[in-house]
Symmetry: C2
Subunit: 462 residues, 2 copies
């Protein structure tokens, strides 16, 4: 492919992407593919010669697109949003084109310094504590950030001579599965996770946490890690971070705040309460790739104590040493699990400059308003129960019995007109409706609600 062919193909692809967003409202949200459908349409052998860009773009449109479930659809209410903006797509394009690897300061100084600066801008924009300045790093995902927090906490404990087998971690049943996975990866094991009871709003009960920690200490075990959820996955419940910090302050327990979904809402000054207490946490993560229009992967992770993180993750063979690092420049490879790293700060910079934080804040406010209205419609309809309080942009509902709720979820998703996610909340099957696509407008939510009502009518007995 010559530079001229690249220019031409690149312009075509940019236009194809713009067209995709023009038509996405009319495309089915969920792919209608059955397992094997794409595989059957593509050659099992690699190509013997090259293809034209037109052929590849044609296949992208004709074969791949129908096999995708459209996370960018205005009718996307599943999992959590992963909304993207045009500015972010351009930022990733610049990153791809430059093709640098910023694992150390010296391997591309601007990649490291722009990342530090963007993380510092985000400290200001989210109202995070000043001790997070120069203490942030972009991770691929909140799961990985939580693992890094566990590793830093484990390092702190084992450096003090505690055997890893004595370590105990705490979270509610509402915490993200990455807490379990992180403990497993770190070799501590899920058996060392204590499930702290939650209240009627699915929030961790601090008195129960304190009692469990006391019991473990009395039994000679070593409480080392608590994960507080700021917007849990099943219900967007908010663990009481200040009350948890009352327990962990001055103790050996590392307090990690997983605000993957909801922390970013602090871009709206009136919503900064979402991060209450974070100034007393040891680490904090929120995802720019969920609700800020920045392409996955862009998970924003801060630690109070940089040394705890880098002590856990730094390895320095001769081929990775540099004079700059010896003089104190940040080498982000020591803040993460892989060695190589993309120049992810570029997309954050593009979004903040081109799309603008005001537009993001307005989008978030719009989602909250739509979710609140949906919540009111659910309350007014006696066929539906609200299974959890609507705290932000997630409405969690159920019909009278689990079988009906499951049937309703399947019917919604099979319609292709909206995509939702099932969950189980304290034993009850529920439907999660998360309003978070950049393109979602009030009329989308209203049509979806009407459709849900019609489908429920057909499912409910008599």
């Amino acid at each position: 492919m010559t530079p001229e062919e690249f220019r031409s193909a690149g312009h075509q692809l940019i236009d194809w992407i713009a067209d995709y967003y023009d038509r996405i409202d009319d495309l089915p949200v969920r792919s209608r593919f059955e397992p094997g459908d794409l595989t059957a349409q593509l050659p099992s052998e690699p190509p013997a010669s090259t293809d034209s860009f037109d052929a590849v773009l044609g296949d992208l449109d004709r074969l791949i697109l129908p096999g995708l479930t459209l996370w960018q659809s205005p009718n996307w209410y599943a999992y959590f949003p992963a909304n993207v903006t045009f500015a972010s797509i351009l930022g990733e394009l610049a990153e791809s084109g430059l093709g640098v690897n910023g694992f150390s300061w010296v391997t591309s100084p601007a990649a490291t310094e722009l990342e530090t600066l963007m993380m510092n801008w985000m400290v200001q924009l989210l109202g995070l504590p000043p001790h997070f300045v120069d203490h942030g790093v972009i991770q691929d995902s909140a799961s990985t950030a939580t693992l890094c927090a566990i590793l830093a906490a484990r390092e702190r404990a084992t450096a003090a001579g505690i055997p890893a087998t004595d370590l105990v971690a705490y979270a509610t049943a509402q915490a993200h599965s990455s807490v379990q996975k992180g403990l497993r990866v770190a070799g501590i094991g899920e058996t060392q996770l204590r499930v702290v009871p939650h209240d009627e709003a699915f929030r961790l009960r601090p008195t129960e946490l304190a009692a469990m920690i006391d019991d473990d200490l009395a039994a000679g075990r070593h409480p080392f890690f608590v994960c507080a959820a700021v917007g849990s996955t099943s219900t967007e419940s908010f663990d009481p971070v200040p009350a948890i910090a009352e327990i962990t302050d001055g103790s050996d327990v590392w307090l990690h705040v997983d605000a993957a979904m909801c922390g970013i809402a602090a871009l709206c000054p009136e919503l900064r309460w979402v991060n209450d207490g974070v100034e007393r946490a040891d680490s904090y993560v929120t995802n720019a790739h969920k609700w800020m229009g920045v392409n996955f992967d862009c998970s924003l992770f801060w630690v109070r104590d940089r040394a705890a993180l880098t002590d856990a993750l730094s390895i320095q063979p001769a081929y990775l040493r540099s004079a700059a690092a010896a003089s104190g420049a940040i080498d982000y490879r020591d803040w993460q699990i892989p060695l190589g790293r993309r120049f992810r700060a570029l997309k954050l910079w593009f979004v903040l400059r081109l799309h603008g934080v005001d537009a993001i804040a307005d989008m978030i406010r719009g989602h909250l308003s739509m979710a609140a209205e949906l919540d009111s419609w659910v309350r007014a309809d006696d066929r539906f129960d609200l299974v959890a309080p609507t705290t932000m942009n997630l409405v969690t509902i159920a019909l009278v019995d689990d079988a009906s709720t499951r049937a309703l979820i399947d019917a919604v998703n099979q319609s292709g007109l909206a995509e939702v996610t099932p969950t189980i909340v304290d034993g009850r099957t529920a439907m999660r409706i998360c309003v978070g696509s950049r393109l979602t407008q009030r009329h989308h939510v209203e049509s979806t609600w009407h459709m849900i009502g019609r489908l429920a009518q057909a499912i409910l007995p008599g």
Copy 2:
């Protein structure tokens, strides 16, 4: 940013990238920035209003570019290559534009199926064993793939009742630092790594490995993991995988082959020997993002036993369950550490169709030929020692004493005309010259060699 503004900005950025590759030959390879230079030029406060795309593109060109060390330069000989192609940049652009998250089959069937198919195409193209079909996954980096191999091996051992504290791993001092890091992350610890002696060509000595394993078994410890390097980082040495497999076959020891750099050379049929013995390995990784023109991150990882990997990494909360998964569809989230995942298979597909495997194979052959010629120049110049045999595209050299070699490396890198990496090989400081940029031609290597000679002359005593 409106769709029309996106089209216009996107076309501009595509052209800027094409222009970048037109002028890259003349740009200094190493950034001349001192720590803090970028930070000083950018506002410490986030912007209060949005900027024009022209302003951002201007800053990218004027402020960011001089702060980058140019991994795509034809004069890039540092670390390992991370070469990219226009086809890959387009593949990543398509991925960014679509904005889907394929962590489960059901969250975008085509993302999962294209990945499986691409990994199967690569099995054919690299001549890998047929039992790797449907057993491959794209990871972000070889470091992470090696960690996943360690976790799978740990799972297999601990599921059989072995305490993790009894596990012992083996590799030479030439193995990548990710082996140490992976053992640390997994909670096994670097203290459990036995450094196996190497021969004069920096290859693991199988008889020593066998003896160390026997000793550990006799002492009641549990050998569980060997990492064999296929193109080690310091010297591109090749551990004798078939001889190692003679030792691990039928044992409880997981054999992981880290072919991050050199495995991909098997795209040239005459070079398939690089993967000799891999059919007897438990896992294998090679990086498409090093020497295949696919943008980072695209690390190709296969395991013989899928269940060992997914047993180590699968967590199934209610909100992640699906009927498709229950019926056997692949959910790649269970093959990796994070939950979310990009649609990385697209860039591999674009490269194989648009750039073509023949062009990649020819590029690799060209690099080998240039490295061989450089090797001959070094041998003919009695000022220089070859510190290790040139096995593929890496030439590792030294002057008479470490201080001179270090001074030479600094002088080369400060020239901005070429970038190389220092290493220490069995105690001796050496300069690594790795020929692997897509744009490198014979005249680049020749000029670089002449420059190295001139700089050495100025450094060497009288």
